[in-house]
Symmetry: D2
Subunit: 331 residues, 4 copies
């Protein structure tokens, strides 16, 4: 039964019948998608008295034959967003959550393969990390490290993110992290730049370099025929390379640091073809203490909020085509 | 003088010289941009005792010949982000702020035309609206409505946004608004949708429809040869059409409402060729009061936070090519 | 049946019985309270085709004979927070929402009078204002202003707040507002202050004065015997006096402006005995444009985020005792 | 020179002279305080190539003889908030930052002892923790763990807070933490509670217990005569006891868990006399998977945002008087 054929739907008293009004002005429908966003699912797995936890926020976006719902309001092709929510929770039971990426692949495949009008599914996932609470021992249950097996404290550092897109044939998996805040208290300079009539900045030969790393990397994996990467190892390794490149690069510009981080990930992780960074320059201004008769030998800084420099770039494996969008936010 | 040729830069004691290290692994630099983000500029204009206020957050992103700063850290082509900040404040004085769009055009043109290595500038602006405080009269100074001419209260409703992009030849202006929260307490239904094994949602014949409108529209104007739109009138009119279409559409789905809003803007505003919406479905669930012996006749609702439906689509003038990106956030 | 007497509660396999463990170390229980926070209730009232909307976030905090639940975990005196949530929604139906204050009074009275162990109830409410969408007319339904009677746009300015406390005998009602952002572009000075060895600030004879008003006022009403104030009129009038005092005070310090705002409310509203303000000084720094050959005649300002001045004070009717706590946040 | 005696202050053209207007209505000034809030100071200390970092947000609130600035706007007793900001940065150089508490003591003592009109100073501090980035070794500089001595990643877990109050004689130090998110996946029950006509909650014999711990503890230290606690050890130990008590308590109610956490801290840390907690009950609802033919054996949960239970209580050492305010927010 289609929406239009429904015979005796209740009406609001005093209102005319709900006509399938079409837009008054001729327009063309462009890219569109819909789904349920930010489904917060927590999955507990029990291994005797030792429990494991996965904590995700999952957003579903579906596209396909959706002209009619836009033009006339007919929902005949529309799987409700509420159903996509239910599917997220049911799949957490049916498939478990080995990794955000694998979980997203299960979901995307399901929507595209089970619903004919759906031609493309995009699953976005944020993952929040937990670590075990270490106790003095002797408690009921047992985590591997002497703590109770069921007590956790949220790690609170970066958020792991992933976006899985599927059109029935090709997979695109873009993973990454955000809000990983790092700081070098030396080994950073900034000089030799262009000066125009609006330039007042003094050159710096020893400054703090600090940023909140937001990175997204795209996996070369695109086909069910090919071997699937080990998503969790890949994440941990990419994160480590980013941190180490930040720490070990003697930086003449944040762009250079960015490029070294990207090069290190591409160079060490064959499964990754492209990586994009969005790096705010978290300014730490040396405070002028001379009015108070004090010398500030790179000791006291004011950490400013706004404005901030913002450095963004993509680093690619040779021969790879860029696919990650320019704006990372919410990706 | 390039970075590399700088002869006698101070060194950090105990550290080796800052070498222009290139990335260890061969990579290709993709899309990149940099600049100062969220410059909060407030511009007061005086008309006798009556003052006017413009309150903006301006973000600058520049692109061009920037390989070397990424590969070696040489800043020889880099206009500092601090300079772009200074330029924003100086231009607020030099050009005034007639509209966010005009102000952004001044800035973009300046960066691209004055700096050879800069090939493209993208200016993003948020504008916060103020209205005059109405007083009992008799005060010093005089606003048009009997209040003092210098006292304002922030309007607090939607945020006006604009993005101006220029590559030396072609302009792209995308404007819009975000966080315009609207609600219809009736004249919304949702039924006739697909049911699969994960569907539990009950059909609704009279529901609350509420959303936070985020909209971006692209102007057809692309060339200095063509007449420039009246940006402020265009904004006010687009906003009005969106609100009225929301209020006057008897809605069978949020997608239909979205399409009517877009059609109304495209149909009434010739200067706009494309509009994209991102509409969260702010769920208001009817509370089950039967356990307490009460009948809830569409009177008491629970306003939920997460998850929420998310409906996104582009509506185009016939013949127009889509340019607005899929993800509106921060655009 | 008390918690301790419950005979055959299921046990977690592998865990010992849930003993009513008391704390290992002797301690005394001090002030305590519990309840459900941030119940988001939307109440629609129908007057023919014209609808009215009330949109609240209601937080319940109950106190009383609660030693045992803290010491042993016995819930025998504990009305669940889930029940307090249900009560909020049920009362929205049973009593309607004429004002936040009246609604809170219904709730507080109910908890204290219906539950013997509950000796005190504190209800906090935030209210979000809506206004009707004005349309071109001719639409179904009719609000008083020619718009449809069921379409609203959130006002988005300040949030109205109220806290109602009841101990079975005495009422305390503290109402107010927060996030009302105001700005004077002139008629503000700051000079003649103390200078010590850490003072570098230059005196200002014409500056921007801007703040986000957070105000809480306490009503003199404490007893069911006395006539109840007209809460909505009182709110609108207090808000108006605050805005007008801000606009009309030639300010030598933000403290002076604060005191004038308080004096105006106390002087005009007999039902209010005490008012406290928390006023951040939203700094707008005049930008130095001289390096660019430009004169900044109080035209271009940088709106800073942090740090900010913070001015807080209570203004009392003569003879009134102060009751509003020093820290307003979340009150 | 007082404010009133200033002879020839510039005037705004067109405005009358700035009179020292007093409030129009007779009022009494109650508690008041002022200062600069959220001074973000980062202090680097160098130990050869190994650097140390302290990252604070410091808020100053001063009270004293401040009637005149409120009544007439005379700033003759007012040390500018800008000066309090300068003092924070200067003291970071002069005294270093051994701990938030010690730093706050330096500041409070300074304001009260150096400014006669200032009778009381309250310093609030938030501290953000950093840990070293571990690298593959061999890098320039050397942290103790093989990483470079100058590279840090923000820990990102709880925020350490402290409030130091001084009136020239007596010290009050209240320290604590906020946003420490913890979760037990079992060993939590909730049953045996009161049922009234609005109760629909089902009893739970095995549920997730999760909260964001916000705790404030007051030190017994009040006098310069007495030995000062080791603030950093005390913080680390209190934090550990809170975590362990959370993990090891078999919980029949969140109140019981709270009381055990408090008892553990009071019992083990002689320097602490009082502790208050504010614990949201971060609800994790077991998802009903039966409609999909699945059994949910405490595996799949929906993590809800609002509303949430909120449990607050003070735990005192026997004989101690409560001083920590009921509302912890921003303390």
């Amino acid at each position: 039964m289609t929406a239009d054929s429904r015979p005796d739907r209740p009406r609001n008293p005093g209102h005319g019948p709900a006509r399938a009004d079409r837009p008054a002005h001729p327009v063309v429908l462009g890219q569109n998608q819909y789904g349920k966003a930010e489904n917060r699912v927590v999955r507990i797995t029990r291994d005797g008295h030792t429990h494991h936890i996965k904590d995700l926020s999952v957003s579903v976006a579906l596209s396909g034959d959706m002209e009619e719902v836009h033009y006339s309001g007919s929902n005949a092709n529309v799987l409700p967003t509420d159903t996509t929510k239910n599917t997220v929770f049911a799949f957490a039971k049916e498939h478990g959550i080995a990794s955000a990426e694998e979980f997203g692949i299960h979901l995307a495949r399901h929507f595209v393969s089970s619903q004919e009008p759906i031609h493309r599914a995009r699953i976005r996932i944020e993952e929040y990390a937990w670590e075990r609470i270490v106790t003095s021992g002797g408690s009921r249950g047992a985590g591997g490290d002497g703590g109770p097996g069921h007590s956790f404290v949220r790690k609170g550092q970066e958020t792991r993110v992933s976006q899985i897109t599927y059109d029935g044939e090709r997979w695109q998996v873009v993973s990454g992290l955000k809000d990983l805040t790092v700081l070098n208290s030396t080994d950073s300079e900034f000089w030799g730049y262009v000066k125009d009539g609006y330039t007042t900045l003094k050159e710096a030969y020893d400054r703090i370099l600090a940023t909140d790393v937001s990175a997204r990397w795209r996996y070369g994996w695109t086909s069910d025929e090919d071997p699937v990467p080990d998503w969790n190892t890949s994440y941990e390794q990419a994160r480590t390379h980013i941190l180490q490149a930040f720490a070990e690069t003697y930086s003449l510009s944040l762009q250079q640091t960015l490029c070294h981080m990207g090069s290190r990930v591409i160079g060490h992780r064959d499964e990754i073809d492209e990586i994009r960074f969005s790096l705010p320059n978290n300014h730490h201004f040396l405070v002028d203490l001379e009015p108070f008769g004090l010398k500030n030998d790179n000791e006291v800084y004011f950490a400013a909020d706004r404005p901030y420099g913002l450095i963004e770039a993509t680093v690619l494996r040779e021969g790879a085509e860029p696919e990650i969008p320019v704006d990372l936010t919410n990706l």
